[in-house]
Amino acid sequence: MVQQPSTTLTATQLRLQKGTPDSPARQTLRRFRRHRLAMAGLLIIIILVVASLLGSQADALGQNLKAMNKPPSADHWLGTDRIGRDIFARTLVGGRISLAVGLVAVFFSTSIGVVLGALAGYYRGWLDHLIMRTVDVVLSFPVIILLLCVASLVGPSIFNVMAMIGLLTWPIPCRIMRGQFLTIRERAYVEAAHCIGVTDFEIALRHILPNAIAPLLVYASFAVATAVLLEAGLSYLGLGVQPPTPSWGNMLNTARNISTMERNSWQWIPPAITTVLFVLAVNFVGDGIRDALDPQAKGD
């Protein structure tokens, strides 16, 4: 009896027959979508972002001296603070501030890190040494110590917090970028580009950078969480975002007073929970992005 060829085709074979193989980007996206924790994290982030965009600035800043330090009720879902501002509205609007600080700070730090890392990795030599030793110096200090010193120097404000976190956290993306450039600059296609007379700038931008971006993306996703936590810590100490503007960090500042912490716990628990939830969600998403970009790093 002659063996019949199998008539059932796998999904991949079908797709190949139709002539539409998955692009690497599509494969990455599919791997990301299959990562359950990452999808859950993404959902949490979307909810937090939408909620914080819906928050009412007027409610968050409007004082009501007849309703000071009120516990949660139908009027004020999460109670009021010591000058009668609605905690729910402040948590939402505070989220807007905290998330904006996080995103802008990471944008600053990644931009600086990419430029310096690319210069160090591409040109090597004394420039590389100078940049990398500077990185070593900055990395020897816990970021929060530098932040405290600079905060006392420039005075606290939203913009300063963003700029400071950005300016003091660039060494990590710089190191990542340098490492990528060091390896990729030796590839044959970079040499080929050199041979046909492409300028250094174009090579770095068009040939090396697109191939170096994956680990940077992973860094950036985790860094948003770090930046939000730094803002929270700084504002908790009273050196970050200043009242009356709410941020998750400066709402936590009320908990520095032990009796407020105990008796008016509704004033600091909501921002504490949203902060942890957001950071947790970002970590899940970051993990998902890492696994999706690098299938070999699975199970880590």
Binding site: P142, C149, S152, L239, A272
Partner: protein
């Protein structure tokens, strides 16, 4: 090995100078006149008096001169006098350094003793319920900075169920006793340790997972070694190498976490002192603390590098 040590040491010397220059520059740029903090308000402040004070404090010299003078004194172990109160920085720094070290080392020990074994367990039972639970806990530990955990811990275990004191290092109303001290130490150390624990667990797990797939582990199993000998004799020792580096690299973050956690528990260490000094513009104290922290971090990294080389011949002989 000797050449490796010397190279690592040489690389660190410019970094050390960079640190001192950075610290000094920061402090020079700080606004506010330290002289104001030094003159008692009830004496009033005439221009002559301020000038005299400035001269007395050496603040009238140009910056490079002040830097070199400061560096010279620093190398001799003299960190000057505090602007608030006028005590030597040395003495205060030593006191807060001891307090911080006790807290951090206890937390680090707790983190290692719990985190590393749990990381191994988690790797050996990959994708089991236990692994899932531990990973979730580790995520929570990484996501909640120690000061938020500290606020939660203080609220629940210090105020609602008052098992632990709410702050300080010793009770003020009684003589010093070791038990009382440990009672104060327990909560902040546990909270801080939980964060370290999470980091170490994650790294031990992934490092262990990597090692366990290596050919030499299969060989060890194939030649009939017992599971215990395979795990501890072959896999664990190699898995530990990257973990050592991680402890060195994570140290700045750990110190950073400790700084805010200290203020939550009013632990009289370098963190609380730093915040007070920043608020009081106590330049010499800020300099002293930043310097000590940065040098400690540098030394820890060096130590990690050397341990790494000691444990891994591939690095030693490169």
């Amino acid at each position: 090995m000797g050449r490796y040590i010397i190279r690592r040491l040489l690389i660190n010397i410019p970094v050390l100078f960079g640190i001192t220059i950075l610290v000094f520059t920061f402090i020079q740029l700080t606004p506010g006149d330290p002289v104001s903090a030094y003159i008692r308000p009830e004496l009033g402040s005439s221009v002559e008096m301020r000038d005299q004070m400035r001269k007395q404090l050496g603040l009238d010299q140009p910056a490079p001169v002040r830097y070199l003078r400061w560096l010279g004194q620093t190398l001799q172990g003299n960190l000057g006098y505090r602007i608030l109160g006028g005590q030597p920085v040395n003495a205060t720094l030593w006191r807060v350094f001891k307090a911080s070290s006790v807290l951090m080392l206890t937390a680090l020990a707790l983190g290692c003793l719990v985190g590393i074994p749990l990381g191994i367990l988690s790797a050996l039972r990959q994708y089991s319920k236990l692994d899932f639970l531990l990973t979730a806990l580790a995520f929570l530990g990484v996501a909640s900075p120690s000061f938020l955990l500290g606020l939660g811990g203080l609220f629940v275990l210090g105020l609602k169920i008052p098992l632990f004191p709410i702050g300080g290092m010793v009770s003020t109303n009684s003589d010093f006793s070791l038990l009382d001290f440990l009672h104060h130490l327990a909560l902040p150390a546990l909270i801080l340790g939980f964060g370290y624990n999470a980091i170490l667990m994650r790294y031990t797990r992934s490092s262990m997972l990597e090692v366990i797939r290596q050919a030499y582990v299969t060989t060890a199993r194939a030649k009939g070694l017992g599971e215990r000998a395979v795990i501890f004799g072959h896999a664990f020792r190699n898995a530990l190498i990257p973990v050592i580096t991680v402890i060195g690299l994570a140290l700045p973050d750990m110190v950073g976490g400790a700084i805010i956690t200290e203020t939550v528990f009013t632990w009289p260490g370098m963190g609380s002192m730093l915040i007070d000094s920043v608020n009081g513009r106590d330049y010499p104290m800020i300099m002293g603390i930043s310097l000590v922290v940065a040098v400690a971090v540098l030394l820890a990294n060096l130590l990690a590098d050397l341990t790494y080389a000691l444990a891994d011949p591939r690095i030693r002989f490169k």
